[in-house]
């Protein structure tokens, strides 16, 4: 299985990729940049984990891909969300917030 970059909670890389693609189709470099920007530079995504994750999500039917010409006039592989991918993002997000809330409660009660 793909390794997780340091500092990233187990199993969240897939969710972050899906979230990034929720707005518009993007290519690999773009996705990595966007995650870094959105996280305020906290998450440095290791491309060695990113690309295998693309392939895995694509095979699971969550991502679709096509070759397009990128903004700097080169052929690039653009990934986009499929219907299943969108549904998956929704359930994962819900699940995430539920867990965060639960963990939050535990932490508050302890402190």
């Amino acid at each position: 299985m793909a390794e997780q970059p340091a500092g990233l909670v187990q199993g969240t890389l897939d969710m972050l990729i899906l979230k990034t693609l929720d707005l518009q189709p993007m290519h690999g470099w773009g996705i990595a940049q966007r995650i870094r920007q959105m996280s305020g530079g906290v998450f440095e995504i290791n491309p060695g984990s990113l690309f295998p994750a693309f392939r895995r999500l694509e095979r699971a039917g969550l991502l679709d891909c096509e070759w397009r010409i990128s903004e700097n006039n080169r052929r690039a592989k653009y990934y986009s969300l499929t219907k299943i991918g969108r549904r998956k993002l929704a359930t994962e997000t819900r699940e995430w917030w539920r867990q965060v809330a639960a963990i939050g409660k535990i932490l508050e009660s302890v402190s």
Binding site: W29, N46, R74, R75, K77
Partner: protein, 907 residues
């Protein structure tokens, strides 16, 4: 949808590999370029940026490998890769590969061939429409009532068949059938083909459609139908008529009666009897016409038919059986033969009919060959086990030579699972090729097996097509052997600690002894298994030898059994013996004939007569009576058979029709019936069904002889004078003892027969051949188990040799030191032999126990010895020990002849 996409992308990955790889490259390069550009913007030089970007990515190839690993097709690819690699390795090691494949192919081939036979005889269903609806009707647990029994399945009489057909409810249609031999020769020497008597419903019930013309229907099967019409099989059509379509309407000659051919059955239809085929099928109603006075159809005591039917929808075999049981009293009441005596009739009326599954047809081969075949499969399985452990041994040896290679690969990052997978791919490749070659081998082996179960008079036919059961069996064998010989070595080879193995310690004194243990276990089990097989082989060989040598009471060699049939002369009863006697005199006149005699029953031919015996010559015989077997013979019979006359005289010219009844009895008869006093002159009467004879007087006593079977105990046997018999058959069975060549004798007999009358049917069979045909099963067991035994010993010895050689090689240094310190050659030889003897001793004791257990299954097949026969075990132990010690001597001498200095210098 998602699944479909996954599938198509995966397939694209497999088949359009280049473009997919290209896209992978392009995608990553695009990312890298972006990364470099960004880092340059941040102020790095191009070189620095490129370096940093690559560091971030962590190696293009590694990333690509990870991406590939995320897909299912990568598994297939990796597997394919492993197989190709394994193939290359095997090609470098051609001798190893060929040995491995051949030994596996032999093992798998033998197993598959035997399983194919079991499949054909036991497991397959009939190739007819909905075979699961077919059931067989017969009497449950029959005993007591007599009659004449003929055909292989004498289940019912014709009268019973008619009653069943009219009164049963569970079957939509039923049919009766019987196998028979038809003589298709127009005259002269008899030419027998495989015939079937079938009732009119036979083909329609089975759902068989004609390949040409039409098949027999109920309209063809009417009482007194005479020469109605014959249906021939596809194979007969091709064999006799070259597949000519104009054959319809042509006349066949069957038992000298012309019968028109009306149709041909499809190529895959062989009847309902598995293991047999038919050439000609005739309607049952034609039987009286063809068999004349010997007709079975009109006799209520003739048991010759087998009855089957197709169950009505919703009726199970059990329900149909229950209905038949319920109507049994009425059926047997209506068909009871007038000829029965009260006891016989009582048994007959007590009979109950039952229904039995008929989906896989019927076959007498099951009773005679099922146990032998399973036993042979077991033996073949052991051979395969030995072959697999031999291979396992070789693989272990290879594993230890590849230790460093494995260590190196693990050191550079290969996972253990990956290496095991690759080693197993090698085993799987071997097993796979072995299985394929084995299947091809089986295809030529199984017909040989069938042929060795066939005789000229009883040819077998088996549908040996490869069905899913056979394929599954072979595939399972391949996988099983692969795991057996491949898994342990693969685990061993990869269980090294890389650092330790790479340090050049291997070959020195520090050799880990555990590595060697598994190979010892394998050799011990090989020896144990091969001892078991050797014991089996010797048991069957000795049993066969006992059968060949057993005192049958007569001498088997030098007798020609000749049957001269003069039915066509239409002689009245009174003239028949005269004619037969005339023939006999002519045969005796042939120069070189030492003795000739006519006999009603040829011993061991499968025919027999048995009647009730009442001692004394008066009183009304009643109740159950003891039974003796009978034969009717002419004078000189005992001289021709070389059976010793113990007391009294042989039959002669005085014993003719009208003179007092005389009999010659066997020693067992005297023991059972006469008990005390002089047997000569003792009188007894004979009851056949409800008829009791006039008294017979014993005029002679002869030695006991075998009657039905060489394996039987001697039975009381009565010989009566054939000249005194009042219902002689219209044929003479002449036993001719002569030392002429077979060919010369046959042509002389033919010419004297045609001198007597030009229109006779003559057939011949050497007595010895007839007896040997009866020992087919024993010979098959002896030959095959012998073959397996030799193979097993060979493989085990090779295994032992390999292990001992390996041991010697790995202890070279030690041996060198011992010799340098003064050990002599004999000490070294003993050192090595001690090791071999230990393995041998353990193997032999385990094997002895195993053979004792396995022997029980062979009990019923052996003659004249027990499966625990001490002599056989001693012989097997001795043979295996000698061969094994011989195999160990070779490496032992090699060890003793090493030059100690050379050895030590190497270290």
């Amino acid at each position: 949808m998602a699944f479909l996409r996954n599938l198509t992308r995966g397939l694209r990955g497999l088949f359009r590999k280049e473009s997919v790889e290209h896209e992978l490259d392009e995608e990553l390069r695009e990312f890298l370029d972006n990364s470099v550009a960004e880092k340059m913007r941040a102020g790095m030089t191009r070189e620095q940026a490129r370096r940093a970007a690559k560091m971030e990515l962590g190696g293009m190839e590694a990333v690509k490998e990870k991406m590939r690993a995320a897909t299912w097709e990568s598994w297939i690819e990796a597997f394919w890769c492993d197989v190709r690699f394994a193939f290359r390795l095997l090609r470098f090691n051609a001798i190893f590969a060929i040995t491995a494949i051949l030994s596996l192919a032999l093992g798998i081939g033998a197993n598959t061939a035997i399983f194919q036979l079991i499949d054909a005889v036991r497991l397959r269903t009939l190739p007819v429409h909905k075979p699961q609806e077919i059931a067989r009707v017969k009497i449950e647990g029959r005993h007591g009532a007599g009659g004449t029994f003929s055909s292989r399945y004498p289940d019912l009489t014709y009268a019973l068949w008619e009653q069943i057909r009219n009164q049963q409810e569970g079957f939509s249609t039923m049919f009766a059938w019987a196998p028979a031999q038809f003589n298709i020769s127009p005259g002269g020497e008899v030419h027998h083909v495989q015939g079937l008597w079938v009732s009119g419903e036979f083909f329609s019930t089975l759902g068989v459609e004609p390949a040409l013309g039409r098949l027999l229907s109920p309209e063809d099967d009417r009482a007194g139908c005479g020469s109605a019409g014959a249906v021939i099989s596809d194979s007969f059509w091709h064999r006799e008529y070259g597949g000519e379509r104009a054959v319809l309407g042509q006349n066949l000659v069957v038992n000298r009666h012309p019968i028109p051919i009306i149709g041909i059955t499809p190529a895959d239809f062989y009847g309902v009897e598995v293991g047999r085929y038919f050439d000609i099928a005739l309607p049952v109603c034609a039987e009286p016409h063809l068999n004349g006075e010997n007709s079975q159809l009109q006799s209520r005591i003739a048991w010759w038919l087998s009855v089957m039917g197709r169950l009505k929808p919703g009726w199970s075999v059990e329900r149909a059986g229950a209905q038949l049981r319920a109507i049994s009293p009425a059926i047997f009441e209506a068909a009871v033969p007038a000829e029965f005596n009260p006891e016989g009739a009582k048994h007959f009326l007590d009979y109950k009919l039952g229904a039995f599954p008929g989906d896989s047809g019927i076959s007498d081969l099951r009773a005679s060959y099922e146990t032998p075949l399973w036993l042979l499969l077991g033996l073949a399985g052991l051979v395969l086990l030995i072959a697999a452990s031999n291979l396992g041994n070789l693989m272990l040896a290879r594993a230890s030579t590849r230790e460093k290679e494995m260590a190196m690969r693990m050191a550079v990052g290969a996972g253990r699972a990956r290496l095991i997978r690759q080693l197993l791919a090698e085993s799987l490749l071997l097993a796979g090729i072995g299985a394929v070659v084995g299947t091809v081998l089986a295809r030529s082996l199984s017909p040989v097996l069938v042929a060795s179960m066939s005789t000229e008079n009883d040819p077998l036919f088996m549908n040996l097509g490869t069905d899913w059961r056979v394929l599954g069996f072979t595939a399972a064998l391949a996988v099983l052997t692969c795991v057996l010989f491949g898994l342990a070595p693969a685990l061993r080879a990869t269980s090294v600690a890389p650092g330790l193995a790479l340090k050049d310690g291997a070959g020195g004194l520090s050799k880990r002894p555990t590595r060697f243990g598994l190979r010892r276990v394998l050799v011990v089990s090989q020896i144990a298994l091969s001892l078991t097989l050797l014991v089996g082989a010797l048991l069957f060989a000795r049993s066969m030898n006992n059968l060949a040598k057993v005192d049958a009471g007569f001498q088997r060699d030098g007798i020609l059994v000749t049957d001269i049939d003069y039915t066509t002369l239409k002689l009245p009863n009174e003239g028949r013996w005269q004619f037969a006697n005339e023939l006999l005199k002519r045969v005796r006149g042939i120069a070189g004939v030492q003795a000739a005699a006519i006999a009603e029953i040829v011993p061991l031919s499968g025919n027999g007569i048995a009647h009730d015996i009442f001692m004394g010559d008066s009183g009304a015989p009643e109740g159950e009576a003891p039974v003796a077997t009978f034969n009717r013979v002419s004078p000189d019979y005992f001289r021709a058979m070389r059976t010793a006359l113990l007391a009294g005289r042989d039959f002669d010219e005085r014993d003719a029709a009208g003179s007092p009844n005389v009999a010659i009895v066997s020693a067992s008869f005297v023991k059972q019936f006469v008990k005390e006093g002089n047997p000569i002159g003792t009188r007894f009467r004979v009851r056949r069904l409800n008829q009791t004879s006039a008294p017979f007087e014993i005029v002679g006593v002869v030695k006991d002889t075998k009657y039905d079977d060489l394996r039987e105990q001697f039975q009381p046997l009565v010989y009566t004078a054939i000249a005194q018999y009042d219902h002689p058959d219209a044929d003479a069975q002449i036993l001719i003892r002569s030392d002429l060549s077979l060919y010369g004798l046959i042509s002389s007999v033919k010419s004297v027969a045609s001198e007597a009358h030009p229109n006779l049917d003559v057939s011949f069979v050497p007595f010895r051949t007839m007896i040997e045909d009866g020992l087919l099963r024993d010979r098959l067991m002896a030959r095959l188990s012998g073959f397996f035994g030799v193979l097993a010993v060979l493989l085990a010895v090779i295994g032992l040799y390999g292990v001992i050689s390996y041991m010697v090689a790995s202890r070279r240094t030690e041996i060198g030191i011992r010799m340098a310190l003064g050990a002599g050659q004999p000490n070294i030889v003993w050192l090595v032999l001690r090791e071999a003897s230990l393995l041998l001793a353990i193997g032999l004791s385990v094997g002895t126990a195993l053979a004792l257990v396995m022997g029980r299954t062979a009990m019923a097949l052996l003659f004249g010895l027990k499966p625990t026969d001490a002599g056989t075990f001693v012989m097997a132990l001795a043979v295996l020990s000698i061969v094994a010690v011989g195999a160990a001597f070779l490496p032992a001498f090699r060890a003793a002849s090493v030059n100690p200095m050379a050895c030590l210098r190497n270290e």
